[in-house]
């Protein structure tokens, strides 16, 4: 009972907040299911259902009536709080304080039915959605899993309709699917229902016999397994290569942005994830890479007029060297002190490129324009669809280096430094070298990303290198899973790609980041795709264990 009230209050306050910051209204233009439910309403619904589920979860499962009562109460409270907001809005001009408390918002909240009926509907919907999730909680786990997955699937399909539509559009007969599912804005009703059934069927089948399939796959003879692995990597390669053609211009642009952040994330992952050095000035190396390319190639300044490929090595070297230069003064610093010192470094670089006194060399506030595009022979990387391949190559290279480093002697040293600096040193690890190499490698990746960024845009401006970039990269690493290489990709897609796709999110980007981080820390602190730490160690016999000990320690 108490739990229900408490959780209901929290959920209700969150919903009121979502309404007041304008998210509900901003998202009401986009429909998840055409003319039935908008994204704004889905947002409220999801929060209400989640609240109801939490309230149910906090109750003793053996007393189903209490479970239901608790989730019902939490929903009632949510509905009540929203109603209070509506009543308050009708009496006071809330708009003086909350800019987003517009008449449109209240119309939305009352379902366009006037205050009386609207409030009744709010209460009904609140209780209904949360007690539904209470029921969901009580249902057997197979059913629960299937239902949750299908609901989430339909919501995702509605959310990502632009993406899906673009994927299906150019494929002749498949384009018919678009007509069936997403004619204009949001899923059709029949589309949503059939999608729900489809996902439910698949996930039911997977729940029933997925594990059986996995074990039988594992039991395949090694040659077959190898064939399977080769085919799947081949397939992945084909998809990666064909991606820009499939996705079209706008989505390829999004893809290149995600790719640049993957590259940045892989670098910071070495510094923060592997070596445990909290670096908040990481954007500085991105800026250094971008500006090195700009200064060396742009005819506007006319120093050297190198080509992109001529400038690229200089950019990377500049990044690596400045990584070491930053590393030396902060060698003795740990944790929060390190974070603050590096934060300062990032700002220094930004202010330097902005400064008037360096304007003749770095362009000052106007930045540097006319940076030539990279080209191989006569092929120029001009459109996002072409730049994509350059970024893909960069990401593959950086991913490969990260992966090799992680399992190397140096990777072990980083791991020890992350765990306990003093003991690492007492185990014979050269602390200075380990830290500087981490800073240098990370900075190198960042500079590479910056170099591509500069030639992609054709110009650089100081304001592209604010501290927010560092924070973004750090967030995507945390959300993906500290120290995990695939985690960086997942994190970049979730935190950079999704907000680009959902333009309405742009304004609430930081809010979403904050919420995502808090939710991650509570629900899944290890990240979306954590590092598979004790990989084969669980399946190893004792003799090769000794083998591995000597192998790893004697290393390359």
């Amino acid at each position: 009972m108490r739990q229900g009230i408490k959780i209901g209050l929290i959920g209700g306050i969150i919903e009121v907040l979502l309404a007041l910051v304008g998210m509900v209204e901003a998202f009401s233009q986009r429909y998840i299911i055409s003319d039935v439910i908008s994204m704004g309403q889905t947002l409220l619904l999801v929060v209400a259902m989640f609240t109801g589920y939490l309230a149910a979860k906090r109750t003793n499962r053996s007393e189903p009536l209490w479970v239901l009562a608790n989730s019902l109460i939490s929903g009632l409270i949510i509905g009540g709080l929203l109603s209070l907001l509506v009543i308050l809005g009708s009496m006071v001009r809330l708009r003086a304080v909350f800019i987003n408390a517009s008449p449109d918002l209240f119309k939305l909240l009352t379902f366009n039915q006037g205050i009386g009926t609207g409030i009744l509907l709010l209460l009904i919907f609140g209780t209904l959605s949360s007690s539904l999730s209470g029921l969901l909680f009580l249902s057997p786990s197979l059913l629960r899993g299937v239902l949750i997955r299908s609901l989430a699937g339909v919501a995702m399909a509605g959310l990502l309709q632009d993406l899906l539509r673009a994927i299906f559009a150019p494929w002749g007969p498949i384009a018919e699917i678009n007509q069936w599912f997403f004619p204009i804005n949001g899923l059709t009703v029949q589309g949503a229902v059939s999608l729900f059934i489809l996902i439910a069927a698949i996930s039911y089948f997977w729940r029933k016999s997925g594990s059986k399939m996995k074990t039988s796959l594992r039991r395949l003879p090694p040659t077959n397994q190898r064939v399977l692995r080769i085919t799947s990597s081949f397939l992945l390669a084909v998809i990666l290569l064909a991606l820009p053609q499939i996705l079209g211009l706008f989505l390829s642009e999004v893809l290149t942005i995600v790719g640049l952040f993957v590259l940045l994330g892989l670098g910071l992952n070495i510094v923060v994830g592997f070596a445990g050095l909290l670096d908040l000035g990481y954007v500085a190396f991105f800026a250094i890479g971008a500006y090195t390319v700009a200064v060396l190639t742009s005819p506007e300044l006319g120093f050297l007029n190198l080509s992109f490929w001529g400038a690229l090595p200089f950019a990377i070297v500049a990044g690596v060297v400045s990584g070491i230069l930053l590393g030396i003064p902060v060698l003795k610093m740990r944790g929060d002190y390190l974070a603050i010192a590096t934060l300062g470094f990032g700002e220094i670089i930004r202010i330097l490129v902005l400064s008037d006194f360096l304007r003749p060399w770095l362009g000052g506030a106007q930045g540097i324009a006319k940076i030539p595009r990279p080209s191989i022979g006569s092929v120029e990387f001009a459109t996002p669809q072409q730049i994509y391949y350059l970024i893909l190559a960069g990401c593959l290279l950086a991913g490969f280096i990260s992966w090799r480093l992680r399992d190397s002697r140096l990777g072990r040293a980083w791991m020890a430094v992350r765990e306990d600096e003093d003991v690492a040193q007492a185990m014979g690890i050269n602390l200075v070298a380990a830290k500087l190499l981490a800073f240098a490698t990370g900075a190198g990746f960042s500079a590479l990303s910056g170099a591509i960024f500069a030639s992609k845009l054709g110009s650089v401006y100081p304001h592209s290198f604010s501290v927010m970039i560092s924070i973004n990269i750090l967030c995507l690493i945390i959300v993906g899973g500290m120290g995990s290489i695939p985690g960086v990709i997942v994190g970049a897609i979730a935190l950079v790609g999704l907000p680009e796709l959902l333009r309405e999110f742009a304004e609430y980007r930081l809010l979403v980041y904050g919420a995502a981080l808090v939710a991650m820390m509570i629900l899944r602190p290890e990240g979306l795709w954590p590092e598979a730490k004790r990989r084969q160690e669980l399946h190893r016999e004792e003799a090769p264990e000794i083998e591995s000990a000597s192998g790893a320690a004697s290393g390359k």
């Binding site: 002697r409 072990r412 040293a413 791991m415 020890a416 765990e419 306990d420 003093d422 003991v423 690492a424 040193q425 007492a426 185990m427 014979g428 690890i429 050269n430 602390l431 200075v432 730490k533 004790r534 160690e537 669980l538 004792e542 264990e545 000794i546 591995s548 000990a549 000597s550 192998g551 790893a552 320690a553 004697s554």
Partner: protein, 237 residues
């Protein structure tokens, strides 16, 4: 010629003068113990020897070679390895990974293999738990792991900082037995202990440290008989 010779060292933490003109020597094959009250500077002395701290004055020689110009990780390669106070195992890594970390400075796979076998014969419990995450080991097992990890570095001189801290009496006995066994196998040991009674039983020599200075040094036997030691450190009347 003593294996380790510490001469008149002064160590500071910033402005705080902790070690004041400390001298100490350890002969090859000995167990030497260092006893003293909390805050006397015992850990500081070990950290100075292993290179984690640098003395402002004085000299430290190991096999007649000046140690002060070396960094901590180079000193490990020379054969001085520390088992830090409070165990400090790498909590997120497995037992096996911890041991591998101990062998970081060692380049000879054969030697690493023999060392690993040695550790597992000394501490069979570690073998059974080699895939467990070290942070979830019991206090006693963590102490074994910390010792095992140090042994993986193939030490000639082992610096141990309060290995019996927080352990049940039975385990304390077995830890001390292990220390003796390591010593008979040829490892020289400098042992810091609060449990002065047991330390003085297995040691050849002892030093008493009081607010950063050595106030007494003698054979363990004589120290056991010493009036002041009996009152202050052995708790006798």
């Amino acid at each position: 010629m003593p294996m380790l010779e510490v001469e008149n060292i002064h160590t500071y933490y910033g402005q705080i003068h902790v070690l004041k003109e400390v001298s100490l020597s350890v002969e090859k094959g000995e167990i030497v113990t260092l006893i003293g009250a909390n805050g006397a500077g015992k850990s500081t002395l070990l950290r100075t020897i292993s290179g984690l701290l640098r003395p402002r004055l004085g000299s430290i020689r190991f096999d007649s070679e000046d140690l002060i110009r070396y960094l901590a990780h180079e000193i490990v390669v020379k054969g001085i390895v520390q088992v830090p106070e409070g165990r400090r195992v790498f909590g997120q890594l497995t037992v096996m990974e911890n041991l591998e970390m101990g062998a970081f400075g060692c380049k000879d796979p054969k030697l690493i293999r023999t060392n690993l076998e040695r550790v597992f014969t000394l501490f069979p419990r570690l073998k059974a738990r080699s895939k467990q995450v070290a942070g979830t080991l019991s206090g006693g097992e963590q102490q074994m792991l910390a010792m095992g990890r140090a042994l993986m570095a193939n030490p000639r001189l082992l610096l141990m900082d309060e290995p019996s801290m927080g352990l049940a009496p039975v385990l304390v006995d077995s830890i001390f037995e292990t220390i003796q066994r390591l010593n008979t196998d040829g490892t020289t040991i400098l042992l810091v202990e609060q449990n002065a009674r047991m330390a003085l039983q297995i040691a050849n020599h002892g030093y008493v440290l009081q607010s950063g200075s050595v106030v007494l040094s003698d054979t363990a036997e004589n120290l056991r008989a010493n009036e002041m030691v009996r009152k202050a450190y052995l708790g006798e009347m």
